[in-house]
Amino acid sequence: MTTKSIWLNENAGHKNPTMFGTEHYFLNAVGLSDAGIEKAVSETFPEYLKKKPAPIIASIVAANIDDFGRLAEEITKCKPDIIEVNIACPNVEDKHGKPFSCVAGDSAKVTKIVRARTKKPIIIKLTPNVYNIGEIASACADSGADGFCAINTLYGMEIDINVRMPILANKSGGVSGPGIKPVAVKAVYDIYKATKLPIIGTGGIMTGEDAIGMMMAGARLVGIGTMVYYRGAEGFGEVVSEMENWCAKNGVKNIEEIIGCAH
């Protein structure tokens, strides 16, 4: 289970419309709204850890390097199993506000500071909006990353032709859902080739078969988000059954054997 990304301070997010779906894709610009680390420490984690039905990955996000360091320290106190570092946010210290995830050097810097401030396993969430995702992954791996989560959403915009303006209040947003699956599979394939570190493969996974394909590309775990829109929360369990059925039918006894087998 991965949390929504947690900021150091409260973050308002964008106004509505923040999301909509179509049969092929989903577009959103929620703006990572969050009450900040204080709520994570005082409410979210204590509540979750009371029962802890599944391992928890704490996702953290910041707009400058120092905040990532402080967040890494603070979130460690929440006792997550893994820390996911969401580096998709524009870097306020960059002249053009480029996201950390788009620059190998910046991705490495964030990884380094988080590595220095926590002993928990850290995974870096990578964006597909780059020329060579393998290069970014390698830079993070060299800076102490334990793994990756890929992919974040693709950049996108949709215009309502009747009112002649973008549908999202933020104008542009992130594309997820069934249509982005081939983009995600290719990215996971490239990261696996570049680093061999564990990958959580995510992006367009709707079925058990999709998840199997993602693992063949190199994912050790598979992440699911937008599927909820198409199949509801019960879809999580259904996807697992579909994976088990596929494995049974195809004589796969240990799922390990398919990880990266397409290479």
Binding site: K4, E10, N11, A12, G13, K15, N16, P17, T18, M19, F20, G21, T22, E23, F26, N28, V30, S33, D34, A35, G36, K39, E43, E158, D160, N162, V163, M165, I167, A169, T226, V228, Y229, Y230, G232
Partner: protein, 274 residues
């Protein structure tokens, strides 16, 4: 799976008519076959402004209404719109009040909850139900829909805080009387959450099933963003609600106590004393 049903982009429609209900409240009428049921909501987009969930005040397969009180930024922008202006809608979404044929139904409406309760009354009358409509407001100037409700031929009783019309005091006083007098099948309520909680508790004490319209800060309206999740079950009000049974809600810590803001922080209805 019908994939087309996954298209939740807006349908752009024009305002056909605006009815002034009182100094701060308008009803907007659209020529659009929404096919909503009482209790359901639509997401309303004012392009360039914002998008909010709104209860449907009436829908008959030809047109639908929404009633909007000027309380904040979005509703004020709504009040600036004129006949012919375009808005976007998505929906209808969510659960509805389930009305059985020939039942004895009590509707309890507070403030602007009167509009969706009118829709429930209209459908209940069509289903041959015996309907008591209990309406609460702060004062006589804030009452809406009274003529429309009387036109349905239901038993209307009113309570106002200042006694400027009807009984002076809370509408829950009248509810206790009505439930004490005869056998009632269902109580439906829509209004301020603290009032609905009282309605739920009174109905529960009298062993009558009660359904309330839960209001939460909503973003997507389609079960994805998690903004409207209710403690402690995590059920999404946009999917499992907004109409939920008091039997279910009474066991939860949240209803009538606090709501969560856009960032998910708890905001208590009353200051915490401990």
């Amino acid at each position: 799976m019908d994939m087309k049903s996954f298209d939740t982009r807006f349908r752009i429609i024009r305002i056909k008519k605006i009815i002034r209900e009182n100094d701060v409240t308008n009803t907007y009428i659209f020529d659009y076959p929404l096919f909503a049921k009482p209790g359901q909501f639509v997401m309303v987009w004012i392009p360039g402004v914002d998008e909010k969930p709104m209860s449907v005040a009436f829908s008959d397969g030809r047109e639908f209404w929404i009633t909007v009180c000027k309380v904040g930024g979005f509703s004020s922008s709504m009040h600036e719109l004129k006949v012919g202006d375009k808005i976007g809608i998505r929906g209808p979404f969510g659960t509805h009040y389930e009305i059985g044929n020939g039942q004895k139904i009590v509707l309890v409406a507070g403030g602007y909850g009167v509009a969706p309760m009118y829709f429930a009354a209209h459908e209940a009358v069509s289903a041959g139900c015996n309907v008591d409509f209990l309406m609460g407001a702060r004062n006589k100037d804030l009452l809406i829909y009274t003529h429309k409700i009387l036109g349905l031929g239901v038993n209307l009783q009113i309570a106002t805080d200042d006694g400027s019309v009807g009984v002076k005091g809370y509408i829950t006083k009248i509810l206790e009387e009505v439930l004490g007098k005869s056998k009632v099948d269902k109580v439906f309520t829509c209004g301020p959450e603290v009032m609905m909680k009282a309605v739920g508790e009174i109905s529960f004490a009298k062993k009558v099933s009660c359904y309330i319209s839960v209001e939460k800060y909503m973003k997507c309206g389609i079960g994805v963003c998690g903004q409207c999740a209710i403690d402690d079950t995590g059920d999404l009000v946009c999917k499992k609600g907004p109409v939920m049974s008091w039997d279910y809600l009474r066991k939860l810590p949240e209803v009538g106590q606090y709501h969560r803001d856009a960032q998910g922080k708890k905001q208590y209805f009353f200051k915490k004393t401990i």
